[in-house]
Subunit: 193 residues, 2 copies
């Protein structure tokens, strides 16, 4: 097991409804040293891709994005989940369905922060069915920006977001892929060699 | 002017309604090197206070909190603005009024992440009337946690959040205090020596 799989195995909690709680280190309380290691791993993988921006969606993606961007020495841009009064000017917008909340929401990003000149690394804490990630890709397509890679902390491998993205040709790195989870039997990680 | 005041003066934009747009480096696109400098400054100020957690509110506080926590080698805990399905167990809750959106919202924090053992540094990107910060302080009071300091990137000094907090005895560090802003005359920063 790698460092993230070990941490999930020791501190993650499996709950009914395929919920994997990692709130003690990844999305409520944040272990910044762990996040830094995640960022460093993404950097090692994508450092030669000419990436000039790290893109994510608020809120829990922001921490991983910042740690990753420190290694690349590039800015983070995060898409927002609600139209803010302070977001003016032209916006890219994509509609995302949240299974957690069972509703649609918009992700928006100011056009001035993404263009066809950009080569971006997309990052997020979780990838399951991939709705949020597809929203980010949609925004990149609208901007004409190049998606140079996708870095995910935890992929739920029993849902199809990851396989769809790889099938569409995206270079996806998931540090931990959970292929099965059960409240009693625990977690099964995919062997990624 | 310090590094943040210089950046605000060069890249910030004053809009009608006392809106200071800093979305090109602080809360939509994030300049991680600038955020790192902000975090380092908070560390220099509060490093001898025995701080064991950095506390903030999602979403834009997360980036500053992570950069700050890296220096302290402590975790970040961020309060959430909506009750999430994935936030179970006992929660601290405080009601916050947003002037930007003119509505009340709850900030919540899982009780397991804050207790009377904790000495926390509260951080946020903006301090104006201080509603979000008061929500965080309320949560700390509920937990019996000690507020060892408050680190703010930009304080709107013409609103009373900062003076109220200082008057109540909190040790507030605002890297840039904007005492006046005008679409034509620009920004006036408070001389902090």
């Amino acid at each position: 097991m790698n460092f993230l799989e070990e941490r999930i195995a020791s501190d993650g909690q499996v709950r009914a409804g395929n919920i994997l709680k990692v709130d003690s280190f990844l999305n409520h309380q944040l272990d910044v040293e762990l996040l830094d290691k995640i960022g460093k791993t993404f950097y090692k993988k994508y450092k030669d891709k000419g990436i000039n921006k790290v893109l994510t969606v608020e809120a829990s993606g922001i921490a991983i994005a910042c740690m990753t961007a420190q290694y690349f020495h590039v800015p983070v841009v995060f898409a927002k989940k609600a139209k803010s009064k302070n977001l003016d000017g032209d916006l890219y917008t994509s509609v995302v369905h949240s299974f957690t909340y069972d509703k649609d929401y918009n992700v928006t990003l100011a056009k001035k922060f993404l263009s066809s000149e950009d080569k971006v690394l997309l990052v997020d804490d979780f990838l399951a069915v991939g709705k949020a990630m597809n929203g980010l890709i949609d925004i990149c397509n609208q901007a004409g920006a190049t998606v140079a890679g996708i870095g995910i902390a935890i992929e739920k491998g029993f849902q199809d977001g990851g396989s769809r993205l790889r099938g569409a040709g995206y270079d996806v790195t998931s540090l931990a892929i959970v292929d099965a989870m059960d409240e009693e039997k625990g977690l099964t990680f995919r062997d990624q060699g």
